[in-house]
Symmetry: C2
Subunit: 460 residues, 2 copies
């Protein structure tokens, strides 16, 4: 049915040496940051233009050959693994800023650019792109997985920050969705259907993103608490009070230990909040005072403030290394990150239950999270060769997912479904899942666009 | 093909006297606020529960009978007109607040409640729902048309404010999309596919909406300018400076005349901005000062400030009557409101061109707009019996729509496509339109959900 070899021959004729079947290149594109087995593609293509992506997809459509987009490879749910073989589209050569429209507070980019590279290019404009998942992900990948991260509590997720996009559809057709205007009521919202579709409905080849002015003043702080419940209750009251936090991140005692090990952080091994305030100098002072008052009610201690750019960067660099710092606590093991998100009022119950359950099961588990959104990650080491440990870890992650649904939340706040969360799609979406399948069948009837992702196997 | 009479018989058996075929009831539901000819349905149903809506749609599906949802009837593009006959579903009896979750800053409602009624019910909580299209529309209708209005510049449109929803699909299946968590990366974003789908993909039966804390301080002002370009350039610089305006509304000289006529406003007949600031007392002062400085650069004069609730209410009540105030300038005529939205940098060109062109054509045209979003409305009176005037008005609205597209904008910022804007769908969406048709064909293969809306006649 799938004619992969003939597709590769035709692609080689189109792309020349920008189509690779070298083992090293294929292996690199078959790796992942977590626990999925390596899954190399049959070939890797390096397109340079939308027109080329269109031609590639048209060739693949002719041969029913899977096409899997690839940005920075930083996905945590195996999104870029070609589980049905086929061709990986690496967007490394489509990484340019096409237009900075400072006067309209937006930027037009190719999908392969990373968020750090984008912000470096924007520096002279006084504007920045706020969404920050930690990893230096590609913007195309971030849009495709509806990523968010530390600043979503203030600036929203990729959902709120993609204004318009261009995509290549399953037969090679190029479409544009959205406009450069800030809002529209014109027709079905295909932009937001493609954002978060993980390359299964269309391949994003261009994005128009909203930008923000770099705040006049930025101030950051860490503080610690006696219990994780005190830290989380501080978050809940802060959010309910409407303080416009730019960042409010939970770090539990095990995560603090990980930072000490991996980043020589010298933190007391207690639950912490890492916070940041953006605005005018007066506004930042006002927000910081209001937050400090709430934190004090819950016994916050050891406040460490910094307005200095270098010190703030070091603090967030440490925070962004939480993935590796968690992994470092379980040497020699694979790493399994979870990603539930619950209504803010249920956050204390969720976090405390997660911590208690991990202890009960004897797991080395860090907790870190974008708690202003109700989103947190448990990071667990797992030895794939130890069946008993695998069972314990799977029991733990299953408990977390079901707890999130029971509390009115979601099994993934920002990592996406990919391979790892398909088993919860029916429980989370119920009868709505059939309508997702209908869209997929209608847009990609041959199932060539990143097949095997999002939708669990079933009546496709 | 469509068996309307048998459907009505079956519905009467289900609903008893909550299914009406009385001429007065049908006529009332066939009216509209603008220039579309009256189009009464064959019957009007008044469901009381989601289960009943599901049963009604299942009956209609069996008979291929059109089903058209109806909220407050305040649509400006004929959305609720049953142009292929069938049954109107009036949500007047599904107008309850189901749950106020103050601790999570959201509320669960039935679609028939109006925004004013919702905010009245919320008053004791210290929270409010910010989206304000002017008309006292139903929330279901606002979600279905992706409405926005005066506060979208600060709080976003319905797109940003619907967290989750329940809908009845074309065969009567009830689905739930989204969760009570603030974000999710779980699967295709059906919530935002249904928001703005104008009842053509599913009928919204429940909404979970984000709420905001009532600001500690609110201050509003009007000021006037010598030219509309000065007013608009003030807006552009204000938005580019990142001042978090809660409202920033343009009123041109003809609109000021309309307010004087309709609301005895006593305004100088010059271009005005109506603005509002929300925040802490300090933040409001800081924002107002920053705005005042920019406005002064463009010669703003006659600043009239008010912090008083009653005075502010009176000011926005006048503003919200712009539809009727515009209409009042052209007695005996029908009223045609336009709704383009352009990138903010193109706003001065768009507004000045619109004004010049209306003058050149000898039209009585008001301009009012949510200019912080780049969105403005020209309101033109038209005598449907005067073919020459109809042609002039149609030429004018066509020029506006094409100008918006040329400037990178959209033909509708917030009113929706309905009947009036279908002719621009191909120009605005190009090849993407085929994917909208594919979704409609897949979700509603018999074309019974609000048929004849959004998608222009063609290969359906």
């Amino acid at each position: 049915m799938r004619e992969i070899a003939p597709a590769i021959d035709a692609l080689r004729a189109l792309l020349g040496d920008r189509l690779s079947t070298a083992a090293a290149v294929r292996d690199q594109h078959g790796q992942n940051e977590t626990y999925f087995p390596p899954t190399p593609p049959d070939a890797v293509a390096f397109p340079e233009t939308t027109e080329e992506v269109s031609q590639i997809v048209a060739i693949c459509a002719r041969h029913r050959c899977p096409v899997v987009p690839y940005g920075a490879g930083s996905s945590l749910e195996g999104h870029h693994l070609p589980v049905q073989g086929g061709v990986t589209l690496d967007f490394a050569r489509m990484n340019r800023v096409l237009a900075v429209r400072a006067e309209d507070l937006n930027v037009v980019i190719q999908p392969g650019i990373t968020r750090e590279a984008l912000n470096t290019e924007l520096r002279a404009t006084g504007l920045f792109f706020p969404v920050d998942p930690g990893a230096n992900a590609s913007l195309g990948g971030m849009a495709a997985t509806r990523a968010s991260g530390t600043t979503a509590v203030r600036y929203g997720t990729m959902r709120e920050n993609v204004l318009a996009l261009e995509a290549v559809m399953a037969d090679g057709t190029v479409i544009r969705t959205g406009t450069a205007a800030r809002k529209s009521s014109s027709g079905y919202d295909l932009t937001h259907l493609l954002v978060g579709s993980e390359g299964t409905l269309g391949i994003i080849t261009e994005l128009t993103l909203k930008l923000q002015g770099i705040p006049e003043a930025i101030s950051a702080a860490t503080c610690r608490f006696e219990t994780v419940a005190d830290a989380v209750n501080t978050v809940i009251l802060t959010i309910q009070s409407g303080i416009p936090m730019a960042r409010i991140e939970l770090v539990d005692e095990m995560m603090a230990r990980g930072f000490n090990l991996y980043s020589k952080a010298g933190l007391p091994e207690k639950p912490h909040l890492f916070v940041e305030f953006h605005g005018s100098p007066d506004a930042v002072r006002e927000q910081a005072t209001a937050f400090g008052d709430i934190a004090a009610e819950f016994g916050a201690d050891g406040f460490s403030w910094t307005d200095d750019h270098e010190a703030r960067s070091a603090m967030w660099k440490m925070r962004h290394a939480s993935h590796y710092a968690s992994w470092a606590l379980s040497p020699g093991k694979k790493f399994l990150p979870t990603d539930v998100c619950v209504p803010i009022s249920a956050l204390a119950e969720a976090v405390v239950t997660a911590q208690d359950e991990a202890r009960r099961l004897g797991l080395t588990c860090t907790i870190v999270g974008h708690v202003g959104d109700g989103n947190f990650h448990c990071g667990v080491g797992v030895d794939r060769a130890d069946a008993e440990e695998v069972a314990r870890v799977e029991g733990f992650t299953d408990m977390l997912a079901k707890m999130a649904l029971r509390l009115g939340g979601t099994v993934t706040g920002e990592h996406g479904i990919g391979l790892g969360k398909q088993k919860y799609m029916a429980a989370e979406h119920g009868p709505a899942l059939a309508y997702m399948r209908a869209i997929k069948a209608s847009f990609d009837p041959q199932d060539i666009l990143n097949p095997g992702k999002i939708l669990p196997p079933g009546n496709m």
